[in-house]
C-alpha cells in the first residue's frame, strides 16, 4: 500500500513538505516537481535522506530542476513526466502536496 507523494511547493515558503514527511512511510515514493525542486537544498531533505536510508524512493523532475538552475544530488533519481505516469500506476494512491 505504497503512496506516491507529489511535492510541488517550496518548503522555504510553505509547510507542505514538512507535512508530507510527517505522514511518509517506508516504501513510499516522493517526486519533487515545480517549486518542490527547491526542497533539494532544504535542511528537511538532508535529514530525510539520512532518516530513510534508501527505503523511500526520492525522485526529481529533471527539466523542472534544470529550469530553476538547481544542482541535483546523485542519490536522487532523475525522471521525466512519462516516468511520473508510470509511478502513479506502481503506487496504490497519490497525494499531491500543493
Amino acid at each position: 500500500m505504497a503512496t506516491l507523494h507529489l511535492v510541488r511547493q517550496s518548503a522555504f515558503a510553505t509547510n507542505d513538505f514538512a507535512q508530507c514527511l510527517s505522514v511518509l512511510e517506508h516504501q513510499d515514493s516522493i517526486v519533487l516537481m515545480d517549486d518542490g525542486c527547491y526542497n533539494l537544498k532544504h535542511a528537511l531533505m538532508d535529514s530525510l535522506i539520512k532518516r530513510v536510508d534508501g527505503t523511500v524512493n526520492i525522485h526529481v523532475m529533471t527539466s523542472h530542476a534544470k529550469a530553476r538552475a538547481i544542482e541535483t544530488i546523485t542519490t536522487i533519481k532523475h525522471i521525466e513526466m512519462k516516468d511520473v505516469v508510470e509511478l502513479t500506476f506502481n503506487h496504490s494512491k497519490v497525494i499531491t502536496w500543493q
Binding site: 515545480d34 527547491y38 529550469a67 530553476r68 538552475a69
Partner: protein, 132 residues
Amino acid sequence: MTTIDEKEAISLPQENGLAIINSKAPFSSTHGKDALDIALIFGSFEQNVSLFFQGDGVYQLIAQQDGSLLSVKDYLKTFSAFEFYDIEDIYVCQQSLANRQLGENFHISDVQVLPSIEFGAALNRHQHVLRF
C-alpha cells in the same frame, strides 16, 4: 508656524519613491512577472523604483535559469533592461540567500546584498510599498 513645520519636515527621515518586494519563486506563479511589469511602467514614467528580493523571491535573480524548459516565457531575461529604465536600486536579503544555500551568482549586475537590518532600513526609506 511655518518655520516649525519646515523644521519638522527636515528632521523627518526622507521617504520617497516606490519599493517593490518580490517574495515568490519565478515560475510557478505570475507574481514575478506582474512585479516586473509594474516596475517597468513606473520606470518609463521616470518614477523612483527600488526592487527588493526577499524569501523565495531571491530565486528570481539566480543565474543560469531557463524558463523555456517549462514552456513559459522567460521574463527573467527582461531584468537586464532595468538600467535603461533607471532602476538602479536592487536589494537582496542576505539571510534569504543563506537559508537557501544560494551564492551571489546573479544574472544581473549591480545587485546589493544586504543583511536583514539594512534590508529593512532600505525598505523603510520608501513612501510606497507593493509586495508580490
